[in-house]
């Protein structure tokens, strides 16, 4: 058995510093990009505090007798955090923004320390969170978590291994509540098990090696904790507050009894009621493990959270965290409104929803709004990737070209990435292929950034001529080989994380030079996704955010996820259903990549990284998705921090698996 609870982040910060050096010089000259930094977890027994202190608002409740003293609330084995700069003081309200009831992620991420494990400040190593330590058996079949003795839910009830077993047996395995099992709890189609070893020890067991589940226990994945995975109608997450939720399940009373309660609360049946009851964003009475719990729910104009009196992290002087009393997110459905409010200094910390294009405006108003701006760089390869539908068949002529590797490469060579980078990323992104940042252990080598991803109009034209697309119409556009009409490639552009329709307008202009006509259709998001999932699109522009951990989010790289794999939905369907539905790819490279992905769970970390590198080499060479610009501050990368707020790292990991800003430890931020 291999203990992995100890970590060292210092070494890895070196890796990220390399990426910073590779950036355009104006980025390093701006002074906005710092070295990664962050609060540190203390494991040295000599530095574990024995006495605890608490926030004034809780001390008052203790004096009034409505709350037990802090010694009884903090676990015997708390997580001890060395704050980034200094020990903080209690109080204050953190003001931020959210853009509607669908934007629960805004709060989920603030509370993401309720995952079993978190990621360090560069997103390279897992560090303890809810779990104090963990180990993976040598054969990879069992992953064991060690919980904290004396840890409690936000209502004071004990948090133990029983909460895992309750979740697994009473919620997850109940098909009335959870319709489909999650891929994270299966290996080769066979389900795994959750087993209680003792009060504070729980194991995830599989019939075949599963080295991947340990990463999925602390990431944007099915086992990613309560706040993220038990909201919005989901019932994944890994554990649940058993003492509280039992009363809503028929097993512990009767079907009539729980249905009666549901109807009394205005719901049709107990399942619907349960989906409301276990959603921390909606139900303030739900026990949680995060630093803040909801007091005014997400479906109100102000989503307000207040400190969890039983939170299980303390600083090195024994002060119970978090320092900040309240988080208040104000509703603004329009992104422009959020950006305007940011400029006027209405937020204390905000990174989500701030747009890179507004960076000059944000910077020019720094003094007036009393905030500072820091720039973080993501490590995924493409903020804008053109996912080409390699499994398209509705129009055989179009399908023939989209599945032709030379055609895809030629398209990629026709794009002037520097122009796009200057226009939409202020020159701060990295033009290139879809490949993950060079700092990642999954990156196959620096040369893959530019493979088939440079501007070469002459070569692109020559490639298109030689594959049989040499005939052109009077306007210079290439003609279809079947009926002599103009070859029109349709692009479904959604106004989303990036201004995709605008970006595609520019690309359409550029591709005229290689005689390719792009018909850019601005499409509503849901409609676009429906068409993608039904294999009806030609080209779908989207990011590949999440692919910095290839095996956690493979969908934007490989045709393996029928929901999100826009570069081959029918092949993804075939893969995910083990051949029952969809279509078998004829292209041996797609089959090879799918096979590499399938085998990854059974591989220990180093071999898994090697498999990831191989997949990236294939993906870049085959150009299933055309990378345009990435490794940039494109999303979450523009970070606004009030000058009153202390201990906010100037730079930390921004990635899906880091659950930004979780790796920056908001618990230890405080107001001066």
């Amino acid at each position: 058995m291999r203990i992995r609870a100890v970590f060292a982040a210092g070494l890895l910060s070196l890796l990220l510093a390399e990426t910073a050096a590779a950036q355009p010089s104006n980025l390093s000259a701006s002074g906005l990009v710092s070295e990664p930094e962050g609060a540190q977890i203390v494991t040295d027994p000599a530095r574990i505090p024995r006495q605890f202190r608490e926030a004034p608002m809780l001390a008052e409740r203790v004096r009034a007798g409505t709350l037990p003293p802090v010694e009884q609330r903090v676990p015997a084995e708390p997580l001890v955090l060395q704050p980034l700069r200094e020990i903080g003081r209690y109080g204050g309200t953190w003001r931020g923004a959210f853009n509607g009831p669908g934007d629960g992620e805004n709060g989920n991420r603030i509370n993401a320390s309720d995952m079993m494990m978190s990621w360090d400040m560069v997103g390279a190593r897992q560090v303890p969170s809810v779990a104090r330590a963990w180990e993976v058996s040598a054969d990879g079949r069992r992953t064991t978590l060690h919980l904290r003795r004396g840890m409690r839910w936000s209502d004071g009830s004990p948090f133990t291994a029983d909460d895992f077993v309750f979740w697994f047996e009473d919620l997850y395995q109940n098909r009335a509540i959870v319709r489909a099992p999650m891929p994270e709890l299966q290996v080769d189609g066979k389900p795994g098990r959750v087993i209680k070893l003792d009060e504070t020890t729980v194991a995830f067991e599989f019939d075949a090696p599963n080295f991947l589940v340990v990463e999925q226990l602390g990431a944007q994945a099915g086992l990613g904790g309560q706040s993220y995975r038990q909201s919005n109608g989901l019932t994944y997450g890994g554990y649940a507050p058993s003492a509280y939720l039992r009363q809503f399940l028929p097993k512990y009373s009767s079907e009539e009894e729980v249905n009666r309660r549901a109807r009394a609360a205005g719901y049709e049946n107990w399942v619907q009621y349960l989906h409301f009851i276990k959603d921390w964003q909606l139900n303030p009475a739900l026990p949680t493990l995060g630093p803040w719990r909801t007091v005014s729910p997400i479906n109100t104009p102000n989503w307000v959270m207040e400190r969890n009196p039983y939170y299980w992290m303390v600083d090195t002087e024994g002060n119970q965290l978090p320092y900040i009393d309240r988080v208040s997110l104000s509703l603004a459905e329009n992104m422009e409104v959020i950006n305007l409010r940011a400029i006027s200094g209405a937020f204390d910390y905000q990174a989500r929803h701030l747009q890179l294009a507004n960076l000059p405006v944000l910077l020019e108003n720094r003094d007036r709004g009393n905030y500072r701006i820091d720039i973080n760089l993501a490590t995924y390869g493409a903020d804008l990737a053109l996912h080409l539908n390699t499994s398209y068949t509705a129009d055989p002529e179009i399908g023939k070209w989209l599945s032709n590797v030379d055609f895809r490469r030629a398209l990629s060579l026709g794009i002037d990435r520097d122009q796009l980078n200057e226009t939409f990323w202020l020159g701060l992104g990295t033009p290139g292929s879809v490949v993950v940042a060079e700092s990642s252990p999954e990156n196959p080598g620096a040369e893959w950034r530019r493979r088939w991803a440079t501007l070469d109009v002459a070569r692109a034209n020559q490639m298109l001529d030689s594959i049989g697309l040499s005939r052109k119409d009077s306007a210079g556009f290439r003609l279809r080989t079947d009926n002599g009409q103009r070859l029109v490639l349709e692009v479904l552009a959604v106004q989303a994380l990036q201004p995709y329709p605008r970006q595609l307008e520019m690309i359409a202009q550029q591709l005229r030079r290689i005689g390719i006509f792009l018909d850019v259709k601005e499409t509503e998001r849901t409609l676009a996704y429906t068409r993608v999932q039904n294999n009806q699109h030609h080209i779908f522009p989207w990011s590949n955010s999440g692919s910095e951990k290839l095996f956690l989010v493979p969908a934007y790289v490989l045709a393996v996820d029928p929901i999100n794999s826009a570069n081959g939905p029918a092949y993804a369907e075939w893969f995910a259903s083990n051949g029952a539905r969809g279509r078998r790819p004829e292209d041996p490279m797609i089959l090879r990549a799918q096979e590499l992905y399938r085998s990854a769970a059974s591989l220990p970390e180093e071999q898994r990284n090697a498999a990831a590198q191989e997949i990236w080499r294939i993906a870049v060479d085959q150009v299933w998705s055309i990378g345009v610009v990435g490794v940039s501050p494109g999303s979450f990368g523009v970070q606004l921090t009030s000058n009153r707020l202390v201990n906010v790292p100037r730079r930390s990991c921004i990635a899906n698996h880091c659950r930004t800003p979780n790796s920056a430890y908001p618990q230890q931020w405080f107001f001066r």
């Binding site: 020159g427 701060l428 601005e522």
Partner: protein
């Protein structure tokens, strides 16, 4: 007293109705000016590409957000209009792209110079423009109103947008006119059940709030339609409501005239139905129709602009006033490129001009009144 000199009173009694209308209209100075403005607008519609200075679709990162550029008329005391070449440098502290004129590089402006290719009046292929900077590099050009984020010249885009927005209005009114005169005429002439049905239909259509109705119809357009198809569909949608006003006016006029003495006289004299309608009735309220039409136009234009602004009407790469305004609605453009807001100016000018013109025409339409 000479025979040829008539008194004012005699002149009026001898003048045709058209002359009277014109005299009356001439007195309405604002309407007259508006009329000229509108003529100029439609001149722009006809000569759009000729007046544009650079390709309205051509993008270039190196000229993103250039502020409006001044034209220098004199060079060394001689009349030699030119603009300075620009050099864009990204501010290392704010990442804003700033442009500094390069006094070393004077770009002469040529009248009737060469530029991008187009078809004059949609027929004659040419590349002559009213004025242009010839042999310019990709970044050089005249940017009278500055450029947008993609580096497209706003002046040229506005000119081309004017063509689409104003012609949509005209086409829309054309369809409305046909529908309105036809249905209003039938309704007024026949009366009875036909009249009741048509009038209730009009009331029904007018009772539906227009913006949601347009939104509903526009949203139901198939997403895979081409820009041209959407253009025609939007025209139809807008005129679908526009005809009701006209129909009411025509019906009212028909009803009023039906009982007039001169109609009775014509009937007694044995004139056919067609002759009565087209020779006697139509001319007497033709001017009203023109006035109503010119008042309907601004509503049409505003409709197209609002629909496109809301993202439901025309879509890029089509260029219309609504689309240009949509570009100007972000924080970025407010703070970094306020010149994008000047897309609103032609909308306001055109709408005001149409309203004043319509007002003047309505007053003048009834010269005996």
């Amino acid at each position: 007293m000479s025979v040829t000199v008539l008194t004012a009173e005699e002149r009026i009694s001898h003048a045709t109705q058209l002359q009277l209308t014109w005299w009356r209209f001439r007195k309405h100075k604002v309407a007259l000016v508006s009329g000229v403005i509108i003529l100029l607008f439609y001149l722009v519609v006809v000569l759009a590409d000729f007046l544009a200075t650079s390709d309205p679709h051509a993008t270039d990162a190196r000229r993103s957000f250039i502020p409006p550029q001044a034209i220098h008329l004199f060079d060394d005391g001689k009349f030699r209009p030119h603009v300075y070449g620009l050099k864009g440098i990204r501010d290392p502290r704010t990442f804003r792209l700033r442009y500094a004129p390069d006094p070393e590089r004077k770009l002469p402006i040529r009248f009737l110079g060469r530029g991008y290719d187009y078809n004059l009046l949609g027929l004659i292929p040419t590349n002559i423009h009213l004025f242009s900077v010839e042999d310019a590099g990709p970044v050089d050009g005249i940017f009278l109103l500055g450029t947008d984020q993609l580096g497209r010249d706003l002046w040229s885009r506005l000119i081309v947008a004017t063509r689409i927005s104003l012609s949509i209005g005209l086409a829309g009114v054309g369809v409305s006119l046909v529908l309105g005169v036809l249905l209003g005429g039938i309704s007024g002439l026949y009366g009875g059940t036909v009249d009741t049905i048509i009038q209730r239909l009009i009331e029904l259509l007018r009772s539906v709030p227009t913006i949601p109705l347009w939104m509903g119809l526009a949203a139901s357009l198939p997403a895979d339609w081409s820009v041209l198809q959407v253009y025609f569909a939007i025209t139809l949608i807008i005129s679908l409501i526009g005809w009701t006003d006209l129909a009411r006016v025509v019906r009212g006029r028909f009803m009023a005239l039906r009982t007039e003495d001169f109609i009775l006289a014509a009937e007694l004299a044995g004139a056919s139905r067609g002759r009565i309608i087209f020779r006697h009735m139509l001319p007497s309220f033709f001017s009203h129709i023109i006035a109503a039409t010119s008042l309907a136009l601004p509503a049409m234009i505003i409709s197209e602009t609002s629909l496109s602004f809301l993202g439901l009407g025309l879509r890029p790469p089509a260029i219309s006033w609504g689309i240009l305004l949509q570009d100007a609605q972000s924080v970025q453009s407010l703070a970094l490129a306020p010149w994008l807001l000047c897309s609103a100016v032609p909308v306001i000018v055109a709408i005001l001009a149409f309203n004043f013109l319509g007002d003047g025409l309505r007053d003048a339409a009834d010269p005996y009144g």
